[in-house]
């Protein structure tokens, strides 16, 4: 089944069996291994990607359902030479240990910050409630968001 997705800003044509999951398409056919697989049941958030700006579990989404959508993976957020404020804040706060949950965390937060300029702590925690971190870095993550918001504020 054919589909066309705008993937990290690039129009990509795909042709897969309907059963192919979005996470598998992104990782195996597009090499976007920033999309992580962990629980594979939509619970942990490691596989989070943005579809038309909203976070979805790519492990439980059909690849063909991304037809006519814009999909963003962590590879589409900032570049090594030009980090997104969230990435910069995560780095300076050291809001990660193993880093496995980090792409999902950043995408969930990007979705929040793209729609809410100055989220309250409660809104941040709510936006992250579906992203699990086994290393226990949550307080650092919330701190990193505050820094990112401040940086985005002062640069605008």
């Amino acid at each position: 089944m054919k589909f066309t997705v705008t993937l990290n800003g690039e129009v990509v044509d795909g042709d897969v069996e309907p059963r192919v999951l979005l996470a598998a398409f992104l990782r195996e056919q597009r090499g976007l291994t920033g999309v992580k697989l962990s629980c594979e049941a939509g619970i942990c958030g490691a596989c989070t990607v943005l579809m038309d700006g909203l976070p979805v579990s790519s492990c439980s989404t059909l690849a063909v359902d991304s037809d006519r959508c814009a999909v963003t993976t962590i590879e589409g957020v900032g570049t090594p030479d030009d980090l997104h404020p969230l990435q910069q804040a995560f780095a300076s706060t050291v809001a990660f240990q193993c880093g496995f949950c980090t792409p999902g965390m950043i995408l969930a937060l990007k979705s929040l910050l793209d729609t809410t300029a100055e989220p309250s702590r409660e809104q941040v925690v709510e936006a992250l409630e579906g992203n699990l971190c086994r290393c226990g870095t949550y307080p650092a993550i919330v701190e990193a968001v505050a820094r990112a918001v401040a940086a985005m504020d002062s640069s605008s």
Binding site: E40, P55, A108
Partner: protein
């Protein structure tokens, strides 16, 4: 984990969807947001050789005012869309609040209220509130359409009034009904949900409202004795009459024991949560 092979159908109209389903019979399953179905197919709990994707049937995604001051929520409307809808916010604030707290943010992006009600997992939140609000469910099949009151729609755990080939087209909730849903959830699945809804006049119920307990019971359970005890009482958690109603509700339900809590503990939760639901409802009504 991978999905087993299936054929995917993507009808553009309700008519087309019903015809495809009728052609393939029970081997075909409806696919909405997929948060339930795809996960269950990956784990092998459910199988289907045909999936009928309803996401391109525009009419199922609509949220409209219904003629009587209520709101009709299409079964394909996502929690995200429902939360933001002005009609829902105006007509049914407790439902807007409930869908904002369901699942997790990713579930809310693609999951649908209609799909939730059709699955009728006893641990789910929405049915308890929709029954309390006096909502009804629209159904359609190749044979025609019908409507079923919410408390008749849910028949038992994972059991509804849906017959083979039928889908949920919408859920409608009436206007001018104050309501609240309070739940107890530590992690994972909900342990107990209590909903209270009715018409409030001058700060009290003049008629019995609906009191519904969910999650700790196999089917959302109406508590008419508790509801009767709420009539004319101040809508405060500490009111003796409200506490009596909570005691009555705890005896009207038949909670099942599980590894996390005994039935007796769940009854204690009912006694604790009903007063909170009453007070939250009163606060919303005043707002």
């Amino acid at each position: 984990m991978i999905l087993p092979p299936f054929e995917l159908h993507r009808p553009n109209t309700l008519q087309e969807a019903l015809e495809v389903r009728a052609a393939f019979g029970p081997e075909a399953r409806w696919l909405g947001g997929g948060t339930q179905l795809l996960v269950a197919m990956k784990s092998g709990d459910l199988s289907a050789s045909q999936l009928v994707d309803l996401k391109r049937v525009a009419e199922l995604g609509q949220i409209t005012a219904s003629g009587d001051g209520g709101v009709r929520i299409g079964s394909g409307a996502t929690y995200h869309a429902i939360r933001r809808d002005r009609e829902v916010q105006a007509v049914c604030p407790p439902l807007a609040h409930l869908v904002s707290r369901i699942g997790n943010p990713r579930v809310r992006s693609v999951g649908t209220l209609g799909g939730n009600l059709a699955v009728a997992d006893p641990r789910f939140d929405p049915m308890t509130l929709v029954v309390a609000l006096g909502g009804d469910i629209g159904l359609a099949s190749a044979e025609g359409t019908r409507r079923v009151a919410a408390h008749d729609f849910v028949r038992g755990p994972f059991a509804t009034a849906l017959v083979d080939g039928e889908l949920v087209t919408d859920v409608s909730v009436p206007g001018a009904v104050a309501g609240a849903y309070v739940k107890f959830q530590v992690s994972g699945r909900v342990a107990l949900g209590v909903a209270v809804a009715g018409q409030v006049q001058e700060g009290a119920f003049s008629e019995p409202p609906r009191v519904v307990v969910g999650a700790a019971v196999m089917t959302p359970t109406l508590c008419p004795e508790a509801a009767a005890l709420l009539v004319e009482r101040p809508l405060l958690a500490g009111d003796p009459g409200v506490r009596r109603a909570a005691e009555a509700a705890a005896e009207e339900v038949d909670p099942y024991a599980d590894p996390f809590a005994s039935a007796a503990y769940k009854r204690r939760l009912v006694r604790a949560l009903l007063p909170r639901a009453v007070e939250r409802m009163a606060l919303q009504d005043a707002a």
